[in-house]
Amino acid sequence: MSKSDPNAPKRLALISSKGTLDWAYPPFILATAAGAMGWEVGVFFTFYGLTLLKPRLTAAVSPLGNPAMPMKMPFGPDEFQNIDWPMPNLLMANVPGFETVATNLMKQTFKNKGVASVEELRDMAIELDVRLIGCQMTMDVFGFKREDFIPQAEIGGAATFLEYTADADVQLFI
């Protein structure tokens, strides 16, 4: 069955399932862009994606097991910044604090290039009335409480999101 209201705006339904910094971006970029186009947007945050609804975002990134990730230096002349630094797994696994370094390098590179932070994009999504739905089952499994998340988030389960998705024009799993 198609949409109940043919004049309703387009609708985007996203599932955000990953909580690392690199995977935190796509749902918020798509949600804000769609919101800016006048679409209705709902994002279902499940499993590791649920942590993106915490008030303080601690999303990090690891090049470990992420072999295509280029390591870039956010400072120095352009030729230096454009080098892809090869990071062998053996080195990454053994150096304490390596993930923090990698995360800070990525954040700084993104900032230098003019990409908004995940926090800024999330604030923008809220301003654009994007529905942020936290997965109740994930909360139960990981022991999260309602107050662990931003007040703008709503909590729901698979049926809540599926009902929203049934009227969506675009659905993506991230």
């Binding site: 679409w39 003019g114 908004a116 994009l121 654009l128």
Partner: protein
């Protein structure tokens, strides 16, 4: 063609996707129907993105040009 005269200017220089589109949408929302917004962007993804945004929102692109790494787009609030 007549020279397009803007009512408002939005400078998105240095910003990357999706901020130029989000800022465009915010600016247009606060304008009156028929008014013209001039957007300056340096994101090479902006020209195709603003065309898609225009088709989706019905606010037409009146003119679009590239000069020295900058993209200048004139939009009219529908």
């Amino acid at each position: 063609m007549d020279v397009v005269k803007e009512d408002q200017v939005l400078d998105c220089s240095g910003l990357l996707c999706p901020m130029p589109i989000v800022k465009t949408s915010k600016a247009i929302k606060e304008m009156q129907s028929g008014q013209i917004l001039k957007v300056i962007a340096t994101d090479a993804g902006y020209p195709p993105d603003v065309e898609a945004w225009s088709r989706q929102t019905g606010n037409p692109v009146l003119d679009s040009m590239a000069e020295g790494g900058r993209f200048i787009v004139f939009l009219q609030k529908s």
